[in-house]
Every structure is written in C-alpha cells, then in structure tokens.
C-alpha cells in the first residue's frame, strides 16, 4: 500500500511520528558530540604539525602517483577491455578465453589479484619486476580493469543495432574494419558515463596497491597514509590522504552525473 492510499488524518499522524524520530536521533547525536574526546581526535587525526610535514610530497608525489597509476591502468585496461568485449561477442575459442578471463578477474577481490601479481608471479617465475612489486600490482589492476570494463563495453556494443553491422558487411568491410570504425565508435559513445564511473572506482582501487609496497617515490596516497601512520604514530596522514581523494573524486562523480544527464537528453 502506497503512502498516498492512506487516509489524510492517518498520513498526518505517520509523518508526525517520522519527524519526531528524526529529532530524537539529532538530539542524541549532539549529546554524543558534546561528550566526545575532541582533544584526542584533534591530536591524533587533525594534527597540524604532522600535516605540515606531509606536504608538498603528499601532492607532488603521492597524489600524482595515484592519478598516474589510475590513468595508466585505465588506458591499458580499457584497451584490453575492448579486445575482450569483441572476443566475447565473437564465436569460437577466443570467446571462451574472454569469458574465463572476465569471470576470474571480476570474481577475485582486486586486492588478491594485486597480491598475486606483485608476489606470487615473481616467486614462481624467479623474476624480479623492473621497478618493484608495485609493477606487478599495476599489472594486476590492469587485469581487473580490463575485466570490469569489458562487460561495460560489451553492453554498449550490443546496444548498437544489428543493421549497422549488416550494412557495413554488405559494403564489403571486414569483421575487423566493421568493429573498429562502425561498431566501437557507436558502442563506446553509449558507455561513456559508466566508463567514467569505472574510472572513479579504479582511482579508489589504486589504494589496494599498498599491499604491493612501494619505494618512497612510487607511493600512492594510501601507501603514503599508511607509512605516515607508522612513522608518526598518528592518524593525520590517513586523513590527509582521504581529503586528497575526495578533492579528485567528488568533481569526477559530479562529471559522471552531468554526462549521464546529457546522454539521457540526447536519446
């Protein structure tokens, strides 16, 4: 039964009850704030002295690395995602490879994938990654991105009307040419908003690279926050990292919303 089906007097009584409940929760929250240990919070998490020592490296090295890793993984991952999406839509053995790849890397927690590439691969193959474990970690993240984006891109490619492929093929275009200049451009345009969303998710997932460890110059924001936590026995570096994430992710999320709205209008 919807709210609008209820008699007005009853409805008024219900909304009164809701207001009362909300007010009560607010009062409790305020009381809790009042008795909270503000002093500890300030010293342990919003410590100006500690924060001062973190800059400018927090931005010039760590935020920069976070963005760099995100972009690298996104560009390479999305490239492979297109290949995987086309493979999955094809017939024959390639299709099964694509399905297996996508299922495995979407099914595993990203952190385990990063761990496996950072440590297991070097151990098993007796091979040291060029710039350390983070290199393997990045490869892992590329695989994860490829798997997720492959599904997004496939949904876009499948939304392209069948007649487009038929028209292209009837003009003598090969399967490859048809995919590259007819199907992909249209399919990708459809999935720009969800892909941007995947970009934001990936940006946050680069935090998982902390498990791979990194030399000073290679650290991204979370590794940086975690290292700071131990160095200063203080939570401020984590807070700084969090704020820096938000500075990037909030505008990006806003952009996704704008893109989605624009796509909706176009339809």
């Amino acid at each position: 039964m919807a709210l609008s089906d209820i008699r007005p007097t009853v409805r008024r009584r219900i909304s009164w009850g809701i207001s009362l409940g909300v007010a009560l929760i607010l009062v409790i929250a305020v009381a809790w704030f009042a008795v909270m240990n503000w002093d500890v919070l300030g010293r342990q998490f919003f410590n100006g002295e500690v924060a001062a020592k973190l800059f400018p490296d927090a931005i010039t090295v760590c935020l920069r690395n976070t963005l760099l890793y995100t972009i690298i993984c996104f560009v390479i991952g999305t490239f492979f995602a297109m290949v995987l999406a086309l493979m999955k839509m094809s017939r024959g053995p390639l299709r099964w490879f694509a399905i297996a790849f996508i299922e495995v890397f979407r099914g595993l927690p990203a952190m385990l994938t990063i761990f496996a590439f950072a440590f297991m691969v070097p151990m098993v193959f007796q091979y040291r990654w060029p710039i350390g474990g983070i290199f393997g970690g990045l490869i892992g993240l590329v695989c994860v991105t490829a798997a997720y984006n492959a599904e997004v891109i496939r949904s876009g490619l499948e939304a392209v009307p069948r007649g487009q492929r038929e028209a292209a093929r009837s003009l003598g275009m090969s399967i490859m040419t048809t995919n590259l200049i007819i199907i992909l451009p249209q399919g990708l345009r459809i999935v720009i908003p969800p892909l941007t969303n995947e970009f934001v998710m990936l940006l946050k997932d680069t935090a998982l690279l902390f498990i791979a460890g990194a030399s000073i110059g290679m650290r991204e924001l979370t590794t940086f926050g975690r290292d700071g936590l131990t160095t200063y026995s203080n939570g401020t570096p984590m807070i700084v990292a969090g704020v820096l994430y938000l500075i990037v992710t909030i505008p990006l999320t806003y952009l996704v919303g704008r893109l989605e709205k624009r796509m909706a209008v176009k339809k």
Binding site: Q164, E166, R169, L171, G172, S174, Q186, R189
Partner: protein
C-alpha cells in the same frame, strides 16, 4: 555463354526448426530488374540476404558472376563490394556525416584516395538529389532522404548489381515517391536489380520479371503484367486480392491488418500501418 550475375541453386535456409527457404532456384540476368513479392514471413528478405551471405544458406549454392560464394575459399568481402544492398531501415552510420557515409567504404574497402572518394560521393549524392545535405548527419534527414543516402552509399562502390529489401516500407507515404524515382532511374540505366517490394504499381512499371514467393518457395514468376495482372496460381491470386483490395476480408486469413491504405494517393500498401 554469358554468366548470370546472380544465380541460386537448390537454396535452403533454416533457422533452427523453422524451414524458411525450401529450395530456391533463381537466375537473374545482367540488366534485369526482378521484383519479389509475397506475404509476410514467406522468406523474401531471407532470400535477398542469402545472396550476399548476410544469411548463410543451410544448403545449396549462391553464384555471383558464376562463382560459388558459399565456398569457404571465396573472397566474400571482395564479392560483397560488387553487390549493393539497401535495407528497409536504411542503416546509415549515425556517427558519420552524409558524405562520410558515402565515402567510408570507398576508402576503407576499395582503398580509393580520399579526394577521389569524395568526388565520387558528391557525384552519387547529386544523382540522388542530395547535394545540399552532404555535411548533415543522418538523424537530421527525413526517411526518404536517408534512404536516398543509403542508395548513394551503395552506388559509390560501383556495384554490378543492387539488392533492395522493402526500401520504402519504413517511409511515410509522401516520401515513397522520391525513393522509387531514384530506383526507376537506376533501372533505366541498366542496373541489375532485385527488389523485394509491396509497391505493386512500381513492380508493374519497372520490373522485367516478378517473382511471387510463398512459404519459402517460388510459386510463380513471369512478366509483371502476367503475374500481377493475371496470375496462374490461386495462392498468387489470394495474395494479390489482399494487397490490392485490403477491404476484402478473407475468412481463412484473419490477420488482415497486414496492409495499410494511403488515402491521399489512393495506393494500397502491404505491411502494417506506419508507426
């Protein structure tokens, strides 16, 4: 002996359990205009789409200029450039301009230099009367204009033959004429054409031969005056009665909403009322 541009031998096509083409033997001679008519679901589109292998036959051969293209060794992409195809839903590439639509396959498939492709595209667009629309996108054009672009796109490949699958069925009645006019010119220039159509007046006027299909078979074929004017087969007669006189309700076939009437031009058209 002159080889026919299009020939099918014992062509069968099934979709799963559905047997759609039941042994089609067909020869289309050079310069011939063949119109294919028949009730909905009789396999007309499937036949046309089998000729450039958009549908792969379950059995039988398709010979283009005497070459069996069902053979896996045949260079299908190359053969398809010789067969222009025009679809009911136009299928223009929406992310390209009109000019881009007409140029793209010339450049990518025939390897023509851009400038040459551009000139040819402009010529073709002029031929279909759309010189002023070259920079537009398909979505900015009317249905009739889009279909003419589609024809120009196919012609730009210099095909030896053209296949039309109900090219005017998705058009508003007042736009049908402009597309048929282009097709008529093409026929007069000697193009080999196969046209699936419900436009009986067009078939009568332009076709050298009319084929009536029903239930996956060719029931009757011959000159238009014969097949449309005075058919032998009772099935052809029933079909024509329904197309030419849609108010006549055949008690055996209750799905009479298969056609619509264009009151302004007084023409009868098969196919559901335009959406």
């Amino acid at each position: 002996m002159v080889v026919a541009p299009i020939q099918t031998i014992g062509l069968h096509k099934s979709f799963g359990d559905l047997h759609v083409l039941k042994g089609i033997d067909l020869v289309v001679q050079k310069g011939e205009v063949v119109c294919v008519i028949g009730p909905s679901g009789s396999g007309k589109s499937t036949l046309l789409r089998s000729i450039n292998l958009l549908e792969w036959p379950s059995e039988g051969q398709v010979l283009i200029d005497g070459i069996n293209i069902v053979d896996p060794d045949a260079n299908l992409d190359k053969i398809r450039t010789r067969i222009g195809m025009v679809f009911q839903q136009f299928n223009l590439f929406p992310h390209m301009t009109v000019l881009g639509n007409v140029m793209v396959a010339q450049v990518r498939v025939l390897d023509r230099p851009k400038e040459e492709a551009r000139q040819i595209a402009l010529n073709m667009l002029e031929r279909v009367g759309l010189s002023d629309k070259v920079e537009q996108h398909p979505s900015q054009l009317s249905g009739g204009q889009q279909q003419r672009v589609a024809i120009a796109r196919a012609l730009a490949m210099n095909p030896e033959m053209m296949l039309f699958d109900e090219p005017t069925s998705a058009l508003d009645p007042e736009l049908v004429g402009e597309v048929l006019a282009v097709m008529r010119d093409l026929a007069n220039e000697g193009m080999t054409m196969m046209v699936v159509t419900h436009e009986m007046a067009f078939a009568r006027e332009v076709a050298d031969r009319v084929i009536f299909m029903d239930d996956g078979q060719i029931i009757e074929q011959g000159p238009p005056d014969k097949v449309i004017g005075n058919p032998d087969s009772p099935r052809t007669r029933t079909f024509l009665a329904r197309v030419l006189d849609p108010t006549h309700i055949d008690s055996a076939t209750p799905e009479t909403a298969d056609f619509s009437i264009d009151l302004s031009s007084g023409q009868f058209r098969l196919g559901p009322t335009h959406r």
